[in-house]
């Protein structure tokens, strides 16, 4: 592909000079983005994009950032829906949903995990049964980030119980504003409620909200999950333009606050290794030889992980990656978080009994200690990651399976 990034930079700069106007409302501005395609430059021209290569996206973002122009709405789980609809939706679905996602008019949530199927996602037992021209949904989902703000959900449900587990699933788009859908916030052990449980009781899905073909739910869900893994860190960035004044910025900040609220504790979940040396100096434990060894081990692990990530990016760029190398990063991130939490405890000593304003760093350290257990579970447990490393990177034999027959005969919760 012969695309000159400098030309693209000039194009976007010119377009912004003519069109960026901070007296517009957020929706008015985002409508211009959808019409021009500059909000999603790597999307197709016929669906609100400009058909530019992924390498152009960063260039466009730089130009937006340079003048404080606000981009398309991408925060939270909505892009999971967008990329999946873009890849598997029909023309009508793309026209109907994509524009309102990137303008921020519609919020979406993901309805995949269930109380009975976490690591074993394909063991989903939420059912969708055809009645006339509608699908009737019954069951329960869990870990649904931002479901309490969502207008729509992407839903995986079982449509055929005689098929094996992976082929009996279908992928639906569901309207969250209806009597058969009940959303309850789920309080976590660290006191936050970033996720929800969603209960379906005869909830209705119109026929034309089936995404792709019947029975294709699993492969389509893979599109969603692949995107989720790739951008896991990106979609929880807080909004920029903090100091800027104007209605459009106020609206943007309000929107960002809602979208990023579930991720407020994520830095603590990662262990806050950035605070370790300062804390060790404050408490004097920096002089302790045993603690120094643990600090060094943590710093080595963290630095090695950063370098591993950069080396992996080169391997991927050269097209030589095997695919599951990200599991190495994820396992290491878990380990860094755990080491960091243990070290914070060692450094903090008896004060680690306290929480809230009574605890060090205005409660941040206490929050680390009760948030870190999430990191080795969310997005695929460490145990699942280790299976992936062993089977797909080291070519060790797969686990024996007991769930290959018709799903109705498979043992389940």
């Amino acid at each position: 592909m012969d695309i000159n990034l400098d030309d693209i930079r000039n194009d976007v700069r010119e377009w912004l000079a003519e069109n960026w106007d901070d007296s517009l409302s957020l929706i008015e501005w985002r409508t211009k983005l959808a019409d021009s395609g500059w909000g999603m430059p790597d999307w197709p021209v016929e669906y609100f994009g400009r058909d530019l290569p992924p390498s152009a996206v960063a260039v466009v973002q730089e130009e937006f950032a340079a003048i404080g122009a606000i981009g398309a709405m991408k925060s939270g789980p909505r892009m999971l829906a967008a990329v999946t609809i873009l890849a598997h939706g029909n023309q009508a679905q793309k026209q109907r949903f994509l524009r309102r996602i990137i303008t921020g008019e519609d919020a979406w949530c993901q309805l995949f995990s269930e109380p009975g199927s976490g690591s074993d996602l394909a063991g989903s037992t939420t059912r969708a049964d055809k009645k006339g021209d509608k699908w009737i949904v019954n069951g329960q989902k869990v870990w649904n980030t931002s479901a309490h703000h969502a207008d729509y959900g992407i839903l995986v449900a079982r449509t055929d119980w005689d098929e094996p587990k992976h082929t009996g699933l279908s992928y639906f788009l569901i309207d969250m504003h209806q009597p058969g859908v009940e959303v309850r916030q789920l309080k976590q052990m660290n006191g936050y409620a970033s996720f929800n449980e969603v209960f379906f009781t005869d909830a209705e899905v119109p026929e034309d909200f089936l995404l792709g073909e019947l029975g294709e739910g699993w492969p389509i869900a893979m599109t969603t999950l692949a995107y989720e893994r790739r951008v896991a860190a990106g979609n929880r960035e807080a909004g920029e333009d903090k100091g800027r004044e104007g209605v459009i910025y106020d609206q943007y900040r309000e929107e960002s606050a809602i979208a990023t609220e579930p991720y407020a504790w994520y830095p603590q979940r990662a262990g806050r290794s950035d605070l370790i040396i300062d804390r060790a100096r404050e408490t004097g434990s920096i002089e302790d030889a045993a603690i120094r060894q643990d600090i060094a081990k943590l710093l080595i692990k963290r630095q090695s992980m950063e370098w591993f990530i950069k080396r992996l990016a080169e391997v991927q760029k050269a097209g030589k990656a095997r695919g599951p190398e990200g599991s190495v990063t994820k396992l290491t991130a878990s380990e860094v978080a755990r080491m960091s939490a243990d070290l914070h405890t060692e450094i903090t000593g008896i004060d680690a009994m306290l929480t809230g304003p009574d605890s060090p760093n205005d409660g941040i350290i206490a929050e680390v200690l009760v948030s870190v257990p999430a990191v080795s579970i969310a997005g695929g447990t460490d145990e699942i990651q280790k299976n992936i490393v062993a089977e797909r990177l080291l070519d060790l034999p797969k686990e024996p399976r007991f769930d290959t027959g018709p799903f109705k005969d498979v043992k389940r919760n």
């Binding site: 080595i300 089977e391 797969k398």
Partner: protein, 368 residues
């Protein structure tokens, strides 16, 4: 900083790996372990002359290939994987890097040519009572005597001290630390060969009593820590290679060995431990490779060098221990090859400073 090997470097590694697989099978290693010198002179000549490995990192004007720490790292890693018996670490790495650090021009060329072509085996004697590279521990004295010097002192844990033709010695002469050269047959040099856990390597204590020595480079010019950094980065690569050999060996066995009607590599209890090992090895590779890149770029590598040594020592020993455990009873036998690498790992763990020593050195280099 580059974050990948070039195509050329990858090809070099492949050629090297094939050569070493051919020249250093464990049947050969086991034979050489029992000999006095511990290595095969013919293979060593091929390593130096045919493959040009001893001079890979030495300047072209000194008979070397003029490459840098990344290529030296590749050589060390592949040698560590193949457990090649030979004075590479002593001659090319320790002596070669020490000479390169203080000597220049004709003097440098004169001293390095023989190391590069393998006609001279050299080594470097640094450590004394504590076995550590600490400037304060160095008490060996060099006294000027009609145009030359006389050396008196005792050096411990000198790699290939009994094989070397020339010994390079770090000594104190009032002007700070300097590098001196002593011929192996010099009067006043006593060599005490030691029995090492790692039978693929030779170590000796050397005692110098008014021993005739030549100054190399300028007086007081030897930057101990800077040479140490370079040596550590090279040595860490060797340990990485050993760790890779252990993981590969364990994996091969786990895919063949059947118990309870299934290959043992299909048990999740083992698969998860293999995954842990793989993760740790990938992280260690990142740390060691980037330390070499940083050295190549001329960055301050003190912290990175110690990070590399600590992490490479840890992963090598971890992989060797796991390899024995994965093999079960057979892994504890003399006949099984695992112990050859395990002993190299044990020995390398404390040679040039333990992982704990280097974690502390890293923190101090970082100002922590």
């Amino acid at each position: 900083m580059a974050f990948s090997f070039t195509e050329e470097q990858e090809q070099f590694r492949d050629v090297l790996a094939r050569f070493l697989r051919d020249k250093s099978p464990t049947t050969e290693i086991r034979k050489l372990m029992e000999t006095d010198s511990g290595y095969d002179g013919d293979v060593w000549r091929q390593v130096c002359t045919d493959m040009g490995l001893a001079g890979i990192h030495l300047p072209e004007e000194s008979g070397g290939a003029g490459y840098g720490p990344v290529e030296l790292g590749i050589v060390m890693e592949e040698q560590g994987r193949a457990l090649l018996c030979g004075p590479y670490l002593s001659s090319a790495v320790l002596a070669g890097l020490a000479i390169g650090a203080v000597a220049s021009g004709e003097e440098q060329a004169a001293r390095l040519v023989g190391i590069a072509d393998g006609s001279v085996v050299a080594t470097l004697a640094v450590t004394e009572n504590q076995g550590l590279w600490h400037a304060a521990d160095i008490t060996t004295q060099a006294v000027p005597v009609d145009g030359g010097y006389q050396l008196t002192g005792r050096k411990s844990f000198v790699s290939d001290g009994q094989n070397a033709d020339i010994i390079y010695i770090v000594a104190e002469n009032g002007a700070g630390l300097s590098l001196f050269a002593v011929d192996a047959d010099a009067d006043g040099l006593a060599v005490e060969g030691l029995e090492g856990v790692d039978a693929t390597r030779r170590i000796a204590h050397l005692t110098f009593t008014n021993c005739a020595a030549e100054l190399v480079g300028a007086e007081g010019a030897f930057d101990l820590e800077a040479v140490f950094d370079q040596v550590l980065i090279a040595f860490a690569h060797e340990q990485l290679g050993g760790a890779q050999a252990m993981l590969d060996s364990a994996l091969e066995y786990a895919k063949l060995r059947v118990q309870f009607g299934r290959v043992i590599g299909s048990f999740q209890a083992l698969k998860h431990r293999f995954a842990d090992l793989h993760v740790e090895l990938e992280l260690a590779k990142a740390a060691v490779y980037q330390a070499a890149q940083a050295l190549e770029d001329g960055d301050d590598v003190r912290a990175y060098a110690s990070m590399a040594k600590a992490t490479a020592s840890d992963i090598f020993l971890f992989a060797a221990k796991e390899c024995i455990q994965f093999h079960g009873g057979i892994g504890f036998t003399w006949e099984n090859d695992t112990h050859l690498w395990f002993k190299r790992a044990k020995s390398s763990e404390v040679f040039l400073g333990s992982p704990a020593d280097h974690r502390e050195r890293m923190l101090q280099a970082m100002g922590v």
